[in-house]
Symmetry: C2
Subunit: 576 residues, 2 copies
Amino acid sequence: MNAERKMSLNVVIIGAVALGPKTACRLKRLLPEARVALIDRDALISYGGCGIPYYISGDVSEASQLQSTSFHMVRDPHFFRQAKDVEVLARTEALSIDRQAKTVRVRALDTGEERDLPYDKLVLATGSRANRLPVPGADQARVFTVSNLEEAIRIKELIAGGQVERPVVIGGGAIGLEMVEALSDLWGLETTLVEVQDQLLPGIVGPNMARMVKEHLHEHDVADVFLSERVERIEGQGAELRLVTDKRTIETDLIVMAVGVRPNIDLARAAGLEIGPTGAIAVDSRFRTSDPDILAGGDCVETMHLITGCKCYFPSGSLANRQGRIIGTNLAGAVEEFDGVVGSFILKIFDLNAASAGLCLSRARAEGFDAFSAFVVQGDRAHFYPGMDLMYLELVVERPTGRVLGIQGLSGQGDALAARIDAVAVLLKHAPTVRDVSNLELAYAPPFSAAMDVLNALGNTAENIMAGKNRIMDVDEFAGLFEQGPNGDFICLDVRGPANAEPFVRKHPGLWINIPQDELRDRAGEVPADKELILICNSGVRSYEAQVSLDHLGLGPSRNLQGGMAAIKKYGLKLD
Amino acid sequence: MNAERKMSLNVVIIGAVALGPKTACRLKRLLPEARVALIDRDALISYGGCGIPYYISGDVSEASQLQSTSFHMVRDPHFFRQAKDVEVLARTEALSIDRQAKTVRVRALDTGEERDLPYDKLVLATGSRANRLPVPGADQARVFTVSNLEEAIRIKELIAGGQVERPVVIGGGAIGLEMVEALSDLWGLETTLVEVQDQLLPGIVGPNMARMVKEHLHEHDVADVFLSERVERIEGQGAELRLVTDKRTIETDLIVMAVGVRPNIDLARAAGLEIGPTGAIAVDSRFRTSDPDILAGGDCVETMHLITGCKCYFPSGSLANRQGRIIGTNLAGAVEEFDGVVGSFILKIFDLNAASAGLCLSRARAEGFDAFSAFVVQGDRAHFYPGMDLMYLELVVERPTGRVLGIQGLSGQGDALAARIDAVAVLLKHAPTVRDVSNLELAYAPPFSAAMDVLNALGNTAENIMAGKNRIMDVDEFAGLFEQGPNGDFICLDVRGPANAEPFVRKHPGLWINIPQDELRDRAGEVPADKELILICNSGVRSYEAQVSLDHLGLGPSRNLQGGMAAIKKYGLKLD
C-alpha cells in the first residue's frame, strides 16, 4: 500500500456492538490516517451483549454499565469521535451494498434520509439475530428474545414493575439457563424451563452432567424443567398467556425464547457474497469474504472447528473481539490469520458452573469419532485445605489414538473450573493425547490444587480405561439400571467402609453388598461369581483399585462406576 | 519381561513421602504380582509436605489430616499393607547400596538391627533436605527449618503453648512467605522477614511484582521485611535469641530458616551413581540413573528445563507425584518418558496470590535471552460483573522472535490467576509466540472473563511493544526516577480526566501535567516539546492510545507507564 493510498483509506463498518468497534479502534491505532465510519441501526452501541442476563437479574443495575469502559467512560458516539477518531452513525440502517461502485446505501432511521457511503474496504459486523419459534402467538408483546439491550430494558421494566410472576423460558442452552437464573434467583419468580431436546445444554455437555445441572435447578427452586417437549403455540394475550406444548399447557405472564441465534446475513446474501455450509458468511483465514474488498467477522461468519476440521458457527462475544482485532490489523496492511476455534465455553448457573472445550461425547460420536469418556470426581485443591470443593470433569477421547477431543466440567468454584478447562482448551489445537493431560504441569500449591491435580487424575483415568485396566459404567447407565428395576443380571459391590455402605445394603437386599476394598483379597470367597459386578466407592478411585484386585484374583466380570457415590448424589439419584 | 521374571519382580523404594508411595501404588496396580517394599527413616509417611505451613497456621488443625486420603483414610503402614499390598518399613534407615549384589543395607532405628534387602529394581525417592545457614548458632533448639512433619509439630506446639511472640523467618522465597503468613496471620505474631537478595521471590517474579508482594506484607502488618541483608550469626539461647545480620540485630524467640532445599543424594553418591550439574541425581527421560536397575525421581533428581534446554532442579510435590506414576509404569515393563518442566508455580500470601511459569525477565536475561516484558493490569472478569478484581500479569518475551519465555501474575483471586498462568504454562513446551497468547481461546462468560480477556490483552500489549508502537517504562524504573528526585529530563503527562489528575498536578508542579487522551489532538500545542514524556493513565491502555496520537502528531519522545496508576498503587509508591 503506498503512502497516497494509505492517506485515503476509507473503511465503512456495518455493526457497532463488539467486532465493529474493536476493528475500528485497532485500525485507527495502526493507521491513524484511515477514515473509519461505524454504522448501526440501534441507538445503543458498543455494549457487552453477554451481560444482558446479569442486567436483567439485577447483578448489573444500570444498562449504561454494559456500555462503559472499565474506567467508567461511556462508549457512545461522542466517545468514539473524541477518543478514537471514529465516526459513528447510530440509528442508521445499511440497506444494500453496491460492490461495483463500492458504496453502501444507508438510511437515517430518524429522518428517513438515504445516501450512499463510499468505501475502500467494507467490514460486515452484522452479528446474529435471536431465533423466534415459528409457532402461533410468538409475536405476542410479552414474548421476548434475548437479542439486544433495548429488548432487555423492556423485560426488566416489566419485572421491576411487578408485572411478572410466573415466566417461562424456552430453551435449555446457555442463554436460557442464564435467563432462568436471572428470573428466579434475584427476582424470586416462579420460573419454568422448556427444552425440546432430552437434556439441558445439548451438544455442550454429556447426559450425566446435563442431568446434574437439572438437579441443581431443582435445588434452587426452579418451578419446573420440562425436557423433550415441543412448543406448539402460545395462546392468550397481554399478561394472560398459555404456552401449549405437545404434553401440557403452562399458564404464564412472560415468555423468553432462548432458542439459539442465526447469523445476520441479509446484506451479504443480497450483495451476492458466498454463504458457507453453516448458513453464515464464508470467509478465509484473513476474514475476506468472496469479495476481497469486503471483510466480515464475529457472529455473522462461520469459522473452522479445529477438532472436526469442518466449518462451524460459534457466536461469541470473546471471539468477536479477537477477530475484530485481527481484521483491524489486516485492514492496516499487515497479514494476520485466524486458525479457528475449539468452542471454549463456560456458564454460571446459580452456585454451579459448567464449562466445556472441544467436543462432548455425543457430538464426538455424531462426528464419526470412535470415542469414549473418562469421568472423575476429585477435590479441586488439596483435600486438607479449607474450602476444598469437589470438581466433576469428563474427558472425551478418541479410542484408538488416545487423542483428546474435548473436556467438560462442573464445579461450585467457577474460576477453579475455568483453570482446568482452559488448560485443555488452549492445547486442543496441538492435538494432545491423554498422556499429555496426565502430565500437564499446572501451578501447584495446596490452596489451588492437589499434588496430583484433578486434571492430571482425569488423564490418568482415561489412560487406564484405554489400557483396559479400568472398565467403566457411567452414572447415566447406572441410573437407568436402577430406574428400570433390578433385572437380576448385576450386583452392586460397595467397596467402601461398612458405615458408609450399610444403609444401601439394608435398602437393596440381594442387589447391594459390601466388601471394603482393603479386605477384598482376604474375602475373595464372598464375591458373587454369577453376576456382573458394579463396583462402587465414594469417587471411583477405590473401586478401580478393587477392579484391579478382582482381575488379579480372577473374579468378575466387573465394571467400575465412574465418579462413584459423588456422581450418584450430584445426579440426584436417590438410593438410600 | 517373561512371566517368571514378572512373578519375582522385587522392588525396593527408599523414601515414603510423595514419589515413593505413588510409585509403589502405580506399580502394584499394573503388576499386582510385584513385591514392593517402601522404606523410610521417619515414623510418619506419605504426607502432604506442602501442607506444613497450613498446619502451622492452623488452617489445617491436625497433622493427621496431611496424612489422610481425601476420604479420611490415614495413609499409614497398615493402610499400605491392606489396601495396596505394599510393605512399609518405617523408622528404617537405608545405609548403603551394594549395586553388584543388588541389595540395600538397612537399619531398624528402634532396634538397631541391620539387614540386607535384595532388589531387582531399586527406586531412590530420598527427596530433599532443608538448607540450614552455616552460621554460628544455627544449631540452637529454637532454630527450625520447614523440612518434615515432625519438626512442624514441634514448631506448632511452641506457638500454641504461647511460647513465641516475635519470630523471624529467614528467606523470602515461597516457603518463607508461606511461613510469614502462617505465623502472623492466624497467630497474630509480630513476624520479621530477612532475605539476602534485593527482592522477594527472587528468580520467580520480576522486581515490580516482588515489590508489590512486599507492599502486601506491610499492609498485613508483617513487622519488618529486610532485603539485601546477610545473616551473620545467631546469639543467645533458649527463647532469648538475637539474629545478627550485616546491618542490625533482631531480638527473637523463634527462627525459621526457609533458605531453600538441596537434593538428598548421599546414598546415590556413595553408591557411585552419576550426580548431574545441578548437584541432584542425573536420570534419563525414563528416570534411570547411571545404573539401569536403579531409578530415581522427585526432589532428589534433576530434570530438563523446557525453556532453557538445560538441566534444572525443581523440587515440587506435584512433580514428584507425576514422576512417581511414570516410574511405576516403567517398572511394570512399559516405556513412558518425561519431557521436563517449565517451573509452574503458585503461592498464596495473605489476600494476594502470586504465580509464575517459565522464566521471569531477570532470569531470562541471565540465561542469555534478548528479552523484554509486557505488563498489563486489567479486570479478571467483565468490568460490569460484581466481584471483578484487577489482575496484574507480566509476559516475558524473546525480542526478535516473539517467543514467550514466561509469565508471572498477581491477583487477589487465586483460582482466576491460576487459570491464566496455567493456560500459558501448558503451552510453553510448544514454544508459543505473543500472537498465540493474543488468540488464546479461553472459556468466556462475564462472570469469568472479559470479552477480551486480560491474558489476550497481555499478548496484544506484547505484540504492540514488539512492533514499536508501545514504547514502555515499567513502574520500577518510574519509582526510581521519582525517588531520585526530578532530574529535569522528563515530564509526566497524565492523560486521564481532570478530576483524577488534579491532585498529582497540584503536588508536582512542573513535573506532572494533564491533557486527557481524548483532547490530545485538539490541544497538541500544549504538549511540551523539550522533555521525554512519561504517559500515565489508570491502567496503561489510554496512555498507549495517547502515545499513538502523539506519534501521529509528531510529538515526543514518549514512554508509556505500563500498568499506569494501578501499578503505582500496588507498588506502594506514594505520589499524591
